[in-house]
Symmetry: C2
Subunit: 124 residues, 2 copies
């Protein structure tokens, strides 16, 4: 069976480029998490028809990602945002207990350097 999470991710990005019919099917498949049989009943088409629709729509979505790679880029951005959030959280915990100005300066310096370098690295 086609991996639902993967299809859902692609659908969230490129879904608006699909036909109305494909959107209807994928919405029930990914977002409502219905089975192929349930979708077939809902839309009054055959189970095979639903399967073909999901397969074709997924292929279309994958071809968009293959050409544009925007989901991969977005995921990199997201990972970096998470990483920065984590660093900020760590820092705000560290300062609570820090008792040395010198140590704190060194720590903050390290974090700011890391964050700036990471941000530059994704922009290259």
């Amino acid at each position: 069976m086609i991996e639902k999470m993967h299809v859902a991710d692609l659908f969230a990005f490129y879904g608006e480029l699909l036909t109305e019919k494909q959107k209807d099917v994928l919405e029930l498949y990914c977002l409502e998490d219905l089975s192929l049989g349930e979708i077939a009943e809902d839309l009054n088409i055959s189970r095979q028809g639903v399967f073909d629709n999901v397969k074709r729509a997924t292929k279309t979505l994958e071809s968009y990602e293959l050409k544009l790679g925007l989901m991969a880029k977005f995921n990199s951005n997201k990972m970096l945002f998470n990483d920065i959030s984590q660093k900020m959280n760590d820092l705000s915990h560290v300062i609570k207990t820090s008792e040395s100005l010198k140590d704190l300066k060194a720590m903050v310096n390290q974090v700011t350097e890391d964050v700036i370098r990471d941000i530059h690295s994704i922009e290259e």
Copy 2:
């Protein structure tokens, strides 16, 4: 005349979804920065033909952005990354002259809170 920078931005995002011919024309127009007349000469088509191609391709690119809005999202991410970089730079300058542990703690606390809040705000 169609705004070149705007077309170049859209082209960088969705260019791979255009036909080969449209890509050729927009590459010369946006990336090589040639005039319509120069492109016409280069590709051996009429100036009007070049203009029509640029216009149609731009419309196609705009329709992708209208449907997907990924360029707008990316630009928001980029602005936030720039903003975080700036905050890190400011902080690394401040710590050089800071002489009070208490003040430095307050400053770092403010920055970490701001950054975490800004990152959360784009994820909503």
